[in-house]
């Protein structure tokens, strides 16, 4: 049976009738498959939660041990389980630690919800794996051909270059607390930056969680009222929302940087008051998105949040059956 007959979009989110289960629902539901730990995909208060062990750990770190009402169901990548009349398996999405694509199979047809994903190398998570299916559901956050993320090493070199040029300025980098933060730290370490990296309080718990999964972040320390004034020439990471916050005022001579796929668009960087834009994204860029459609090879593509019109158009040009799946509620500005 074609997935359109057993998948529908409800106000709570995407719903699989055959398994009576939602994928990344926006409101509390009885049964939920969670692709990854970002807050717009993983919410608290569901009855039964199906996710990777890492994603469940992230949800516990964010919402407490009682984020679910009935059960947690950890799945290893590739493991198959049955929910109602569907078979579910999770596969690596390469987006952040624990991120997964959800593959659902029912009455001889299959659909893959890729969640958010990227194809670039990221030492903090398992790389994306193309999974065979009849319908592939893809995100479209950066689905315009102007989005081509440059190599991560180049952007990290930009940051370290600025640090050498302005050793008197505190380099404050806005990064998402989950995923981006840890990836940027790992990339700095890989570029040979050995010094303590200072963190906004909001980053701490998730960094500890990454380290508990064996991801080495080197020496990190929290920014405190006591050490803040001594951070000239240091790298400080904070959530994007804290860049222009009172919090950052105590840091000495701040040079504002931000690591995000949006930094590619000059006006966006400027709107946010960013002096040093670093184009670093945990989402697929245009080349990765189009490559993925061909790697997965599903005859039909559904496009969710983001710039769906361009990707639907491209997919149709390439001979795929493609349509937009309007999902209000996901952050189409997430980076």
């Amino acid at each position: 049976m074609h997935p359109r007959d057993w998948i529908e979009v409800r106000p709570e989110g995407v719903y699989c009738k055959a398994g009576d289960v939602y994928i990344d629902p926006m409101q509390p539901v009885n049964k939920a498959i969670i692709t990854h730990g970002h807050a717009d995909h993983a919410r608290s208060g569901h009855g039964h939660v199906y996710a990777t062990e890492e994603t469940l750990a992230i949800m516990r770190a964010r919402y407490g041990d009682t984020h679910y009402l009935m059960s947690e169901n950890p799945l290893a990548y590739g493991q198959r389980i049955t929910i109602g009349d569907v078979t579910l398996s999770l596969h690596p999405a390469g987006h952040i630690l624990g991120s997964a694509q959800a593959r659902l199979e029912h009455s001889g047809a299959s659909i893959v919800f890729s969640g958010d994903y990227k194809r670039r190398l990221d030492p903090t998570c398992v790389p994306f794996e193309p999974v065979t299916c009849d319908v592939f559901v893809t995100e479209a956050t950066f689905a315009l051909p102007v989005f081509r993320h440059p190599p991560l090493e180049e952007e990290i070199a930009k940051l370290l270059g600025s640090l050498a040029q302005f050793p008197e300025r505190c380099h404050l980098v806005g990064v998402y607390a989950l995923g981006k933060c840890q990836r940027v730290i790992c990339a700095l370490r890989a570029a040979g930056y050995e010094e303590t990296i200072y963190l906004h309080g909001a980053m701490l718990r998730l960094c500890e969680l990454y380290q508990s999964f064996g991801i080495d972040l080197g020496q990190t320390d929290m920014v405190t009222p006591e050490n803040a004034r001594a951070l000239a020439g240091k790298i400080v990471l904070c959530p994007p929302s804290a860049l222009q916050d009172r919090w950052s005022r105590k840091l000495p001579d701040v040079l504002t940087a931000a690591a995000s796929g949006w930094m590619r668009i000059r006006a966006r960087a400027k709107q946010k008051g960013v002096e040093l834009p670093l184009v670093v994204s945990d989402h697929a860029d245009w080349d990765e998105l189009t490559q993925t459609l061909s790697d997965v090879g599903a005859p039909e593509v559904w496009v969710t949040h983001g710039r769906d019109d361009a990707l639907v158009y491209y997919a149709q040009q390439q001979g795929f059956k493609a349509q937009a799946l309007h999902l209000l509620g996901y952050e189409d500005d997430s980076d």
């Binding site: 315009l144 102007v146 668009i265 006006a267 008051g273 002096e275 040009q317």
Partner: protein
């Protein structure tokens, strides 16, 4: 070219003027002639490259990308140069060619190469460049950099680079040409100042601050004279032994568009005033003036139906003498005497408004409410010299209170510049017989946070799309402020707003409670 690209990239993102200055001075100190002079010309928008056209860039990219994806990308990015810089097909690893030509080689090629060879030359350069370098090259062609360096700042930096007063640089400015080698030679103490006396030059003008409530106490009848503030175009009219010219307040020459106005000045002077359309004693509205704007070499018929005149309010030079150092009252007396001596047609003196108490000023300001050609009061310190720039204190402008209407958002389009990639150009309308009719368009008046909210609202409430335009659900009310309403046959509603802006977003107000079209009829001004 590499150094220039890096400079642009840094300047673009650098918010602090002091840091911008440092970047520019470092660049001047480390870059040889004539590269640095061409960089000054490009940043100061003084370089004319008539063959490097937007259309040519469009053709180049059209030949290399899918038209639909190009349109969507351009719509999103909101700026052609950046769109092309990002879209230009290049190897996955961006090229980083150390042998890119120097800036002056590029500029000279762009200026002198035969037109037919230009597209290939530019394409070959773009192939060798990184995305930021492509952006820099394309911005040279587009003529407007928007990197937050005004012509004024550029001149200030040059002045400080050479330890010279800004006034000397500004006076020289309109008489020298890129690549400014003689300017740099003077600034670096290697030569005398370039001679420019032979040319008609623009003298920087004096600007006013808006009058705020906290400043009302400063305004006393002994210290300040009052004049009307006209809703025309601020101009500087120059007549010397060399000839005559008309400049805008930013120094753009518009003599060709207003030959009638230029001809009026029948004595040697540099006058500061307002360009208006005037028929006999009656002043035309800004709408009338708009018919003349941008028309180079207007027809005799248009000059007859929309004759240009000047209301002058200050003199910088009179009969060869610089009078800027004299106090306002004295300059005005001299100007009045000159006008009485030479009786120029089409030039009149801006009258003073007699006043003894602040109440009278407030009354005068309230009384202009129905005159579309006046937009408020000017308050000028009687003892003040004519100072270039916007000094605080000598001149205040006090605009009339705006009119307001609650209008319904109808269409949205993505903006450009700093609002690019957001739906931020809004068309709104008022009700007439249960139907919404558009009355105007505005793209500012909201905060950055509101911009993000509005963009989201538009994307989630789109009913239909027409190319880049989205028609939205008729559900969001804007309080729109504007200076005046005119009749207009160009709009279906029959009205046009002057200077509309969004003063408040009424998330709370139901659309059917927005205003009726009849409101505009009651606010109508300036019949034409």
């Amino acid at each position: 070219m590499k150094a220039f690209s890096k400079l642009l990239e840094r300047l673009y993102f650098e918010p602090a003027t002091s840091s911008k200055e440092k970047l520019l001075r470092d660049y001047f100190a480390t870059t040889p002639d004539p590269d640095r002079g061409y960089a000054v010309a490009i940043i100061g928008n003084a370089l004319s490259l008539p063959n490097f056209k937007r259309g040519m860039v469009l053709d180049l990219i059209k030949a290399r990308t899918d038209p639909q994806l190009l349109a969507m990308s351009y719509d999103y990015v909101g700026e052609l140069s950046e769109t092309v810089a990002h879209l230009w097909p290049a190897p996955a690893v961006a090229p980083n060619d150390p042998d890119l030509p120097a800036l002056h080689e590029v500029v000279e090629a762009l200026r002198h190469m035969p037109k037919v060879q230009l597209p290939d030359y530019i394409a070959a350069l773009l192939d060798r460049m990184t995305s930021p370098e492509r952006w820099a090259l394309l911005k040279i062609g587009s003529g407007s950099l928007r990197i937050g360096v005004s012509a004024r700042l550029l001149k200030q930096v040059l002045a400080r680079y050479g330890g010279q007063p800004i006034e000397r640089v500004e006076t020289l400015w309109h008489g020298i040409d890129p690549p400014y080698e003689e300017l740099f030679a003077w600034l670096e103490g290697r030569a005398d100042a370039p001679a420019v006396e032979e040319r008609l030059t623009f003298t920087p003008v004096m600007l006013a601050h808006p009058l705020e409530a906290k400043d009302h106490g400063l305004i006393t009848p002994d210290a300040y004279a009052a004049e009307w503030k006209y809703d025309g175009i601020r101009v500087q009219c120059v007549h010397s032994a060399v000839g005559r010219a008309l400049f805008t307040r930013t120094g753009d020459e518009i003599s060709n568009s207003f030959p009638d106005a230029v001809a009026h000045l029948n004595f040697h002077a540099v006058l500061d005033g307002e360009l208006v359309v005037q028929r006999g004693a009656a002043l035309g509205s800004f709408n009338d003036l708009q018919q003349r704007l941008g028309r180079k070499n207007p027809s005799g018929k248009l000059q007859d139906s929309h004759p240009a005149a000047m209301i002058v309010y200050d003199a910088l030079m009179l009969e060869g003498e610089d009078v800027r150092h004299l106090p306002y009252e004295q300059r005005r007396t001299l100007l009045q005497a000159a006008l009485e001596t030479y009786h120029p047609v089409g030039i009149s003196l801006s009258p003073q408004i007699p006043w003894h108490s602040f109440d009278q000023l407030e009354a005068a300001r309230a009384s202009v409410d129905n005159l579309s050609v006046i937009e408020g009061l000017m308050l000028k310190r009687k003892d003040s010299a004519y100072i270039a720039g916007r000094p605080t204190g000598p001149w205040y402008k006090w605009k009339i209170n705006p009119k307001r209407a609650d209008a319904v958002l109808m269409y949205a389009q993505r903006g450009s510049g700093k609002r690019s990639s957001f739906y931020s150009d809004f068309t709104f309308g008022l009700w007439r017989d249960g139907e919404l009719l558009p009355i105007g368009k505005a793209y500012f008046g909201f905060t950055d946070a509101e911009l993000v909210e509005l963009d989201k609202w538009v994307r989630h409430n789109t009913v239909k799309t027409f190319g880049p335009v989205r028609e939205v659900k008729k559900a969001l009310v804007f309080e729109v402020a504007f200076d005046a309403v005119h009749r207009s046959s160009r709009h279906k509603s029959g009205y046009a707003l002057r200077f509309p802006r969004i003063s408040r977003i009424r998330w709370d107000k139901p659309a059917d409670e927005a205003d009726q079209m009849s409101l505009l009829e009651s606010l109508l001004t300036g019949e034409t």
